[in-house]
C-alpha cells in the first residue's frame, strides 16, 4: 500500500473510530470542583431549596466506603435531572443523570465515600432546583482480611 493511501486511510479510521466520543459531553469543571458549592455552580444549579419530594434511600452505616449503595426517587413533578454529590469527597460531584421522556426520575447506584459524609442529591424540575441530604457513616469492617 503506498504511504499516501495509508495516511489517508489512517486518518479516516481515526475519524470513524470513536463516534460516541465525538458526541458525548462531560462537564470537566463540575467534576473537577473541590467543593459541592463550586460543583453545583458549574452545573448551573446555584441555589436549591430543600424538598421532601426528593427521597434518598441508603443505609446509615456503610461497612465499606468503596461501595455505598444509594437509591434516589424524585416525586417532584417534571424532574429532568438528578445530581449526586458527596460533600467530603475530594471531588464532591459523583454523577449527573438526565431523564428524558420515557424514563422515570429514579436511580440506584453505588458510590465511593472516602469518609463519613453528607450525601446531597439535587433534582432539577421545571427550571428550579431542589435538594435533599442524608448522612452516611463509613466504617472499616473486620481486620482487613
Amino acid at each position: 500500500m503506498n504511504p499516501l493511501r495509508r495516511t489517508v486511510l489512517g486518518a479516516l479510521a481515526l475519524l470513524l473510530a470513536k463516534p460516541f466520543a465525538a458526541l458525548a459531553a462531560w462537564n470537566e469543571k463540575a467534576f473537577g470542583a473541590k467543593s459541592a458549592a463550586d460543583a453545583l455552580k458549574n452545573l448551573g444549579t446555584g441555589s436549591t431549596e430543600a424538598s421532601s419530594g426528593l427521597v434518598i434511600e441508603a443505609p446509615q452505616i456503610a461497612e465499606n466506603g468503596a461501595v455505598v449503595p444509594i437509591e434516589i426517587t424524585s416525586n417532584i413533578p417534571g424532574t429532568t435531572s438528578i445530581a449526586v454529590l458527596i460533600e467530603k469527597n475530594p471531588f464532591p460531584l459523583a454523577a449527573k443523570f438526565d431523564f428524558k421522556d420515557g424514563a422515570l426520575p429514579f436511580l440506584k447506584l453505588n458510590v465511593k465515600m472516602g469518609e463519613t459524609s453528607d450525601v446531597r442529591v439535587v433534582a432539577t424540575a421545571g427550571g428550579k432546583h431542589y435538594a435533599a441530604t442524608k448522612e452516611i457513616k463509613v466504617t472499616i469492617g473486620g481486620c482487613g482480611g
Binding site: A58, P59, E63, N64, T139, G141, G142
Partner: protein
C-alpha cells in the same frame, strides 16, 4: 447518690445496647442493598465460559467433570460438598475437585492448574470464576456435605480438632476469634462457627464477592487468609487440613438453604 449512679449506668448500658442494635440493623440494610445487583453474576458468567472452554493438552472442557452428582451435573453439587470421592480415594471440596478435573479431564499438570489460585482485582483466578459458577447452581439447595463415609467422618473430626488447636506465634486457634458469642472486630461480628446456629448463615453465603477489594473469594482463600491472620504458616492449596476444616464448617452448618455466592463488605 448510689441509686442515681446505678440508674445512669443502666441507662448508659441500655442506650449502648440499643445503639449497637441499631448499628447492626443499619449494617444489615447495607448488606442487603449491596447484594441487590451484585457483580457476583458477572463472575458466574465468567465461570460458565471457563467451564465450557477446551483447555490443556487434551483440549477438553470441564463439562464432564464429576462434582459428586455425576459427570457434568452442576445443579446442587456445591451444596453436597465436601465429600468423599472414590476415584481419588479422598474427601474433596469444590476446589480440590476442580483441580482433579483439570488434571484428569484436561491433562493439565497440577503445577499449571494451581499456578494462580487466588487472583487480584484486575485478574480474578480460574478457581474464583469456576467457584462462582458452580456454587451459583446450588441456590435453594440444602447444605448436605458428606458425613457418613468413614473418611468423611475422619475428616470432620480432623476439622474440629484443627478448629480448636492453638498454635503459631500468637498461640491462636480458629476458636480464639470464632469461639465466643458476642465478639467482634471493629464493626464485624465474629460468628461462633462451632455452633450450628451461627455456622449455618455463613456456609450458606460462601464463596463470596468482597466489595472492599472487588474480588471474588473462595473457601480455600478464606481458610488460607484466616491462617495468615493467625500468624501461622500458609496452608497448602486443597490440603487435607483445609478440606477437613471446610467439611467441619459445612457439616456444622448443614441443613441451611444455600443462598448462592454472597456479597460481603
Amino acid at each position: 447518690m448510689r441509686l442515681l449512679r446505678t440508674l445512669l449506668c443502666v441507662a448508659a448500658f441500655l442506650a449502648s445496647a440499643s445503639h449497637a442494635q441499631d448499628a447492626r440493623k443499619e449494617i444489615q440494610r447495607y448488606q442487603q442493598m449491596i447484594a441487590d445487583g451484585s457483580p457476583v453474576e458477572l463472575f458466574e458468567l465468567g465461570g460458565e465460559e471457563l467451564w465450557k472452554k477446551p483447555q490443556g493438552p487434551k483440549q477438553v472442557s470441564l463439562e464432564k467433570c464429576d462434582l459428586g452428582k455425576g459427570p457434568g451435573v452442576i445443579k446442587g453439587a456445591y451444596a453436597a460438598l465436601p465429600r468423599y470421592f472414590k476415584d481419588a480415594d479422598r474427601v474433596m471440596d469444590l476446589e480440590a475437585r476442580l483441580v482433579h478435573c483439570m488434571e484428569t479431564l484436561q491433562g493439565r499438570s497440577r503445577a499449571e492448574a494451581t499456578k494462580a489460585v487466588f487472583g487480584n482485582q484486575d485478574t480474578p483466578s480460574e478457581m474464583e470464576y469456576l467457584s462462582a459458577y458452580v456454587a451459583g447452581h446450588s441456590r435453594g439447595a440444602k447444605m448436605a456435605p458428606g458425613l457418613s463415609h468413614p473418611k468423611e467422618k475422619e475428616a470432620f473430626e480432623l476439622g474440629r480438632a484443627l478448629f480448636f488447636h492453638r498454635a503459631g506465634a500468637w498461640d491462636f486457634s480458629c476458636a480464639s476469634c470464632h469461639g465466643e458469642e458476642g465478639k467482634r472486630i471493629r464493626m464485624q461480628d465474629l460468628p461462633v462457627l462451632s455452633k450450628p446456629e451461627f455456622a449455618r448463615p455463613v456456609v450458606a453465603t460462601w464463596p463470596a464477592y468482597r466489595v472492599s477489594n472487588s474480588q471474588f473469594k473462595t473457601m480455600q482463600w478464606r481458610i488460607n487468609d484466616c491462617y495468615r491472620q493467625m500468624r501461622m504458616p500458609e496452608p497448602k492449596f486443597v490440603s487435607d487440613a483445609t478440606i477437613a476444616l471446610n467439611l467441619y464448617l459445612a457439616g456444622t452448618g448443614k441443613g441451611e438453604t444455600y443462598r448462592g455466592p454472597g456479597t460481603k463488605r
